[in-house]
Subunit: 338 residues, 2 copies
Amino acid sequence: MLSERKRKILCAVVDGYISSAQPISSKEIQQQYMLDCSSATIRNELSALESMGYLIQPHVSAGRIPSELAFRFYVDQLMNEYQLTSHDVEIIRKYFSQRIVTLEDVMTAVMHIISEITDYTSVVVKEDMSDKITAIKLLDLSNGKLLVVIVTDARLLKDGVVEIPEGADERTLQQAEKWLNKLFVGKHVSEFVNFNYTYTLANSQFSQFNALFKKIIDVLKKVSLENGLDVETYGQHKIFQHSEYSDVHSAQRFLSEMEQKVKIAQMFTNDGGQQGSVTIKIGESDNAPAGCSVVSTRISLGENVSGSIGVIGPVRMNYKKVVTVLDKISDLLIDIIK
Amino acid sequence: MLSERKRKILCAVVDGYISSAQPISSKEIQQQYMLDCSSATIRNELSALESMGYLIQPHVSAGRIPSELAFRFYVDQLMNEYQLTSHDVEIIRKYFSQRIVTLEDVMTAVMHIISEITDYTSVVVKEDMSDKITAIKLLDLSNGKLLVVIVTDARLLKDGVVEIPEGADERTLQQAEKWLNKLFVGKHVSEFVNFNYTYTLANSQFSQFNALFKKIIDVLKKVSLENGLDVETYGQHKIFQHSEYSDVHSAQRFLSEMEQKVKIAQMFTNDGGQQGSVTIKIGESDNAPAGCSVVSTRISLGENVSGSIGVIGPVRMNYKKVVTVLDKISDLLIDIIK
DNA sequence: ATTAGCAGTCTAACCCTTCGAGTGCTAACA
DNA sequence: TGTTAGCACTCGAAGGGTTAGACTGCTAAT
């Protein structure tokens, strides 16, 4: 448990680093945040926080920067409120006062608002849940491969080819087919983006077919991403405003990452938080891209459509502001989407 | 008219600069491209080409780089054939051997192929021509504004608000409405992306309403872009592979540009070249973004859908390769799309 | 018309120094 | 025991100066 003073100092470092992108020195903390002890005392505390893993010293004659652990602690316990500025509110007003007719319009507006206010790349993921699976068929292509056909309500079929596992005769394949249908029919295609197969498969009676099922579910995942999911981003150029992307390499990495829509979708849709609560992923340990954080919230977009909105940006992100903006937009969406 | 030797030298400079991104020296040309005269002679020729506007010398002790004029001349007259490498062919094979079902699949594959082979950002624009305009209505909102409602076959209506011009009474507005209907009904929404109003309007009998019509057409343009047009890009991160974007500023400019889908659509769809012929825009004078070139070709995607595919990248682009790839893909598409 | 040779120019790279910011440690102090 | 002043030390960023070398333009000879 951290002492009150340590918490205060840690918060000062994180806040300061978020706004300046520079290592924070003991003097700076004393002058700007706490006046009741000397910089030497703060140095001692900083040193302690560093050995606890919360702070990092880029080099010996520099101040401290927060570790990912510190950011995690910050968003969970230290972060205080952010008040939307009149400028922020004006941006929201501007977009929502435009004529908005379709769901597309809404989402485009939301993306632009979020990106403009926060200066991060905004992401909208839309999951169309209306397309239900009506049947799964396995077709032996008699060259050692199996054609998996997934039939759905709306579009006739989606398919993929997988290897037939060793020692699978016709009868076992039929059984497998039966089992697959039992498991999947009636479900929405987009439910499989984040399907965690280890559990389900470990308990199935077809453990020798694990590899096959895994592949089939991969086909489902692919299909669900390509058909049931719509990923849009806006404000990729905003990353250049942040000093962590001032070198070309990290910028390139970020952009490559952003073009992998599948990955993006997963980051924004999994561990489904409830509407109204904001999920924050910090760094690779949270399955965000290296050096990046993902802040998102789930939204409902009508009968059979749900989704996520959020931003992706450097770990040194203005979480307060982002969370507040997402909350606000989320509230507004509830009013707008009937 | 340029002498044969000047053409040869100019071609050498352009080819050399395209592949090295470095100013080309007289010595280099002599060694690599022509052995039948000395570097001093080439220096004289280079000097002449510079004063003709084809070459630029970054500083006095550097070689020459081609001007945009030179690139224009190169693509029109000098450029020789490019042979697809086996690696290129392999990439095409890889993507087209995947199961491709929908038009979406095709276009995604095409985008990836083009970007992977060329290392530039690829763009696909799809214009859905099935949505025809059935009527245009003007509604006086009696606050000095006019609601323009565009009714189409498919989706009920699209609208926008414009100011009523000075001195427009009810009767003239009715006339204007009539004229608008005569002009637009039966046309496809997406025809207006590149509608050039100056000509049409200059010859209309409503010259005093030019501003109004202009706005209405802007609404149509906006509508057609938002509804009838689909712009997708892939490989934005590829720009970092090219030295002109090794500084953060130009990279940012490029990305901002790429996020303006409207502009992109216009660059790829206008002055409608025929399928099978590749259009090359070089630099701002050709309405490409500053420092950029746009290479595109029109394709047919079925009954009521047409579009463009192409790349956008630095003016120092490997035009040979890009043109060849686009030609190839264009041919393949003709086979695939029925 | 072409070419060898040479003086002149400019960049890129490297090294060196300096400046200042910030720390850790020590010893004194409450 | 916790806090603080003082100081030596470290390290990076910035600036200046030098050097090496890449090319050119010009001149004069062929």
